[in-house]
Structure formats: C-alpha cells, structure tokens
C-alpha cells in the first residue's frame, strides 16, 4: 500500500471516529458545543480556501454567516418554505452577496480588501439590527424550525450534531478536492504571484470572484445550519469579532492548509466552554479563560506572525531540503 492509500484510509477512519463522537456523548450541553465546532468548521474551511490558499483576506465572513442564518430562519419560520429549500436558497443568497462584494473589491489588494470587508461586516451588523421585519432587531429571531426533510424532523441534540458534522465533513472533503485540482492550483498560483498567474493563462479576476463567492456561500451554509440547530439568532453572533476570530484561525492554521485552520478554529471554539468540557476545572479558572479568549487570540495572531517573519528564511531552507529528499 503506497503512502497515498495509507493517508486515504487514515482519513476515512478519522472521519468515522468523528461522526461517532456525537453518538457516544450524551450530555446535551457538550453536544451543543460540538455542534458549534462543526458549524465553525464549515465557515473556516471556506475562509481557508479564500485566505489561506488564494491569499485574499476577508474580515466580513461573520456577515455572510449571518446572511445565511437570517435568510434560512426567515424563509422557514415566516414564509413556511421547506427546510432543505430554505437552506439552499440561503446558500445561494450568501453566494450572491459574496459575489456582489467581491466584484468591486477585485481591484483591491491586501489591506484595502481587509478594510472593505470589515466595512461590509459593520454595515451588515447595522442591517441585522435595523431590518426588524426580517431579523427581529436586537431581540433576535426565535422559534426557528428544526431541520426536517418530509416527515423526518431532526430534534435531538445528537441528531443535530451528527447532521452538522456530516455536512462539515463533506465540505472539508470537497474543499480538499478543490485544493488538489486545477482551481486549487490556480488559487495558489495567484497567491504566490499575480503577474505570474496571469502569465500562465489564469483568469485571476474570475478565480478571485469564484473563490470569494464559494467562501461566502459556505459561511452562509454554516449560518443556516447554526440557525436551525440553536433555534434562536441575534445580531451579536454575527459581529466583527467573529470575523476576526475566523481570520485568526486561518493565520494560526497556516497558509495552504485546511487541517491547520480547522484545528485552530476548533480550539478557539472550545476554549470558552472549557468549564463544561473539562469536569475537574474550577469554576473561577474556567471563567477567567472565557474572559481572556480575545486576548489569547490577539496575542496568538501577533506572535504567530512575528515568529513566522523571523523564521521564514530558516523554514524555507528546510522545506527545500525536504522536497529535494522526497523527489529523489
């Protein structure tokens, strides 16, 4: 069995083990936290494609997440659209909004794109509060129906968690296939050098818009799942802080990696709930951890980038050696 097969089997086993976790865990609260892990995994995979692979930063992903959540909640709760259709429409809407943000932002690079998407997130925060007819304003939107397909309704925390994790797994696998195929190579090429990517015939503008729309759509999908899993949403879940947390996970997880951002986002998601997840931990310690999560995230971002800047030349050299060794 060659290395590729071994890795494939390893992946399948890990996936099975992950899907088994919600079946073993019985605590409702822990299941809820694990559901959040799955939801956040979907968003961060999308952002990893956009930021980690294509090199296009976004500080607006919490807003796309919110668009998906409100759209699906409104479609099912108020308009009575069936769940599956509502989720599909929510994803399409998030994609379209992402596309609309991406097209004018195409001309922007790096920090300008960051500021434009940050602005988009701030505006959407205002919209989520002010568009009361759809969003319920600051009071939020409650009584969101559970996911259901025909007569089958998923109500139990276990079922919801399995659903979210199954979708997350499918998204992660699809994303991995994208990164290994032609569009993935195009994304990496434009990240490395835009003129170079243009020179080898990559339609840089089209790749950027597509990956932005895809990434926004995945955030919308996660938002829709989140809304139906928790049954209540309010504007505070879709603020800039969440966008920055996602960006931090991709920074920490590393360039051109899906597993890195996934691991980092999982850690960031679990940290605030350490009190519930680690039975032995004193309450005061758990509360302190929860209180200091933003500091920890901010510090992680700063230190990661400093360490990488200082170690870049060294790491580059060792990687070259490793690649040379693999080829021979």
């Amino acid at each position: 069995m060659n290395a590729f097969r071994v890795r494939q089997w390893f992946g399948v086993i890990v996936a099975m083990a992950m899907l088994a976790v919600p079946l073993v865990v019985t605590d409702r609260y822990v299941l809820k936290v694990l559901t959040f892990v799955g939801v956040n995994a979907i968003v961060v995979v999308g952002l990893a494609l956009l930021f980690g692979f294509a090199g296009q930063v976004s500080l607006g992903h919490a807003a796309f997440f919110g668009v998906g959540a409100y759209a699906s909640a409104f479609l099912t709760g108020t308009l009575g659209v069936p769940w599956l259709g509502a989720v599909a429409l929510a994803v399409v809407l998030a994609c379209v909004v992402g596309w609309a943000v991406a097209v004018p932002s195409l001309r922007l690079k790096g920090h300008y794109l960051a500021m434009a998407t940050l602005g988009f997130n701030e505006i959407m925060s205002v919209v989520f509060v002010e568009a009361r007819a759809v969003t319920g304003g600051n009071d939020g939107l409650g009584n969101i129906p559970f996911p259901s397909i025909g007569p089958l309704e998923l109500r139990s925390p276990t079922a919801l968690c399995v659903l979210v994790w199954a979708v997350a797994l499918a998204v992660a696998l699809a994303a991995r296939n994208i990164t290994l195929s032609r569009p993935g190579r195009a994304m990496r090429a434009l990240h490395a050098t835009e003129p170079g990517a243009l020179a080898v015939g990559i339609d840089v503008a089209a790749v950027k818009v597509r990956v932005f729309a895809l990434s926004a759509g995945l955030a919308g999908l996660a938002g829709a799942l989140y809304a139906h899993a928790v049954g209540f949403i309010s504007p505070s879940s879709f603020g800039l802080d969440f966008s920055i947390l996602l960006m931090a996970a991709v920074v920490l997880g590393g360039r051109e990696s899906l597993l890195g951002p996934l691991a980092a986002m999982t850690a960031f998601t679990l940290l605030p709930y350490s009190g519930a997840l680690l039975p032995g931990i004193p309450r005061a310690v758990a509360e302190t951890i929860q209180d200091w999560v933003p500091d920890l995230v901010g510090l992680t971002v700063v230190l990661t980038l400093i360490v990488r800047a200082r170690g870049a030349s060294l790491r580059f050299a060792t990687r070259k050696q490793a690649e040379a060794g693999e080829d021979s």
Binding site: I123, P294, V297, V302, L305, A309, R310
Partner: protein
Amino acid sequence: MSMSSADVLQFVASGLQNGAIYALMALGFTLVFASTGIINFAQGEFFMLGGMLAAAGMAAGVPLGVSVLAAVAATTLVGCLVERLALRPARSAGGLALVIITIGCSMLIKSGARHLFGPDERALPAFTAGEPLSVGGALIEPQAVWVLVLALAAAVGLTVLYRWTKMGLAMRACSISHDAARIVGVDTARVVMLSFGLAGALGALAGAVVAPITQTAYDVGARMGLKGFAAALLGGLGDPVGAIVGGFVLGLLESGAVAVVSGTYKDAVALVVLLVVLVLRPQGILGRHLGEKL
C-alpha cells in the same frame, strides 16, 4: 421636504463636528501610512483609549484637563509600543502580515480595555459648562466648539512639525523612500515609531474630546476606525492636508444623508464612500497618483 435655513445650518454644524473627529482619525491613518505603507487597524482603538482613559481618570478624581492630557500621553505610549513590540520584530514579513498584526493588536487593546474598565458605557463631562450657542437659529453645544478648536490646533501643530522641523523632514523623507532616508542618516525605525505615537495621540485626542457628546465604551473603536480610514482614503492616503479635507467632506456627506434620507443607515455612508473611492479614484480626491501602492 422643506427645510428651514436653521435646519440646514444645524446639519452643517453637526457635519463639521463629526468631520473634525474624522479628520483627526484620518490624520492618524495617513501618518502611519506615509511612514510605513500599511493601514493601522489599531487606529480606532487609540480613539477608544482616549475617551475611556480620560473617563477613568475623572472617575478616579483626577481633574478633567489632566485626565484628558494623561489619556493622550498614555495612548501615545501605546502607539509607540504597538510599533516597537509587535510590528518591528516582524518587519521583514512586510505588507499584509503587518496589517494583520495591527488587527491582533487592536483585539488586545480592545479586550484589555474591557478588563480594565468593564463593558459599560462611560460618559465624560463637557470641557466647559454652559448653554448651547445660537448661530443663525442653529444650536451649537460648547463641546462642539472644543472639538473644532482642538482639531484645528492639532492640524496646525502637525503641519508645523511636518513642514518646519527636522523630525518632520525625516518623516517626509521616509514617506518617499526608507532606503534613501537611511542613506542620508535618518533613523527610520525611530520615525516609524514616532508616527505610531502621533497616530495614538491624534486618535486619543479625538476620542476624549468627543466623549462628552457621544459617550464611549470599550467597543467603539472599529466603527470609528472605519470612518477615519474612509476619510483618509477620500483625501488621498498619505496626504495630511487631504486627510483633513476628507474628514470634513465625510462628516458633511453623513450629515447630508441624515437630513435627506434618514439617520438609520448613517454609518453606511462611510462604507459607500470607501468603496466608491477605492474603485473609482484610489488616489483620493486631492491625490495625484498612488498606482503601485494599490
């Protein structure tokens, strides 16, 4: 829709008051951009610190004037520390990595303020008590006069520093080329740190002087940062005069939008300005060319 001349004047006055604040913020962005070529996402947090530190000083019994000056001084120091501790060690990474470091710093500053001062809104008393002045039927709070006067003083002081001092000359040299500045003996690292310190002072001044009107809280930074950046971009990033013009233009545009449409989406004006300028005229309304920097 009919509007009396007093109404128009009222909107202009509020536009000028907000515009002065945006101008100070835009100057902060522009100084850092001129010396480093990056956008400092922590600029909004400098604004927040100015108001919160001054309010905390007052709460501790320190006189208002001393509180405000100490808040500006402390934020200047924070600005220098951001450069020295977080950005300088990663300088070789360049561009986007440095920008993301400022985002990390902004998280740290915001969260630090929450630990120190709590999550509640804070108020600061007006710098001078007194009845609103009536100008042509429009009512103008004395604090609005403070905002305009202090913004003007800061702009004049900065112009003097930039145009006629050796440090200002060094700053202008750095904005053209770091390498060339270093060759002629400019300590570029010091200039960059100073520009962050000044950005801190300008942000804090804006935050402290407007706090009596708007109140303040640990999380007001991001939105104000966005507006200050939009103003800086409008006037042409890296151009101090443009920053001031951009600030007032944005303030008046917002006021106009409130008068004509509604106050609900007032905050959207800055984003629309930001996107329109970025897409149509990235060098700003006064700027000449910026081509390679975008």
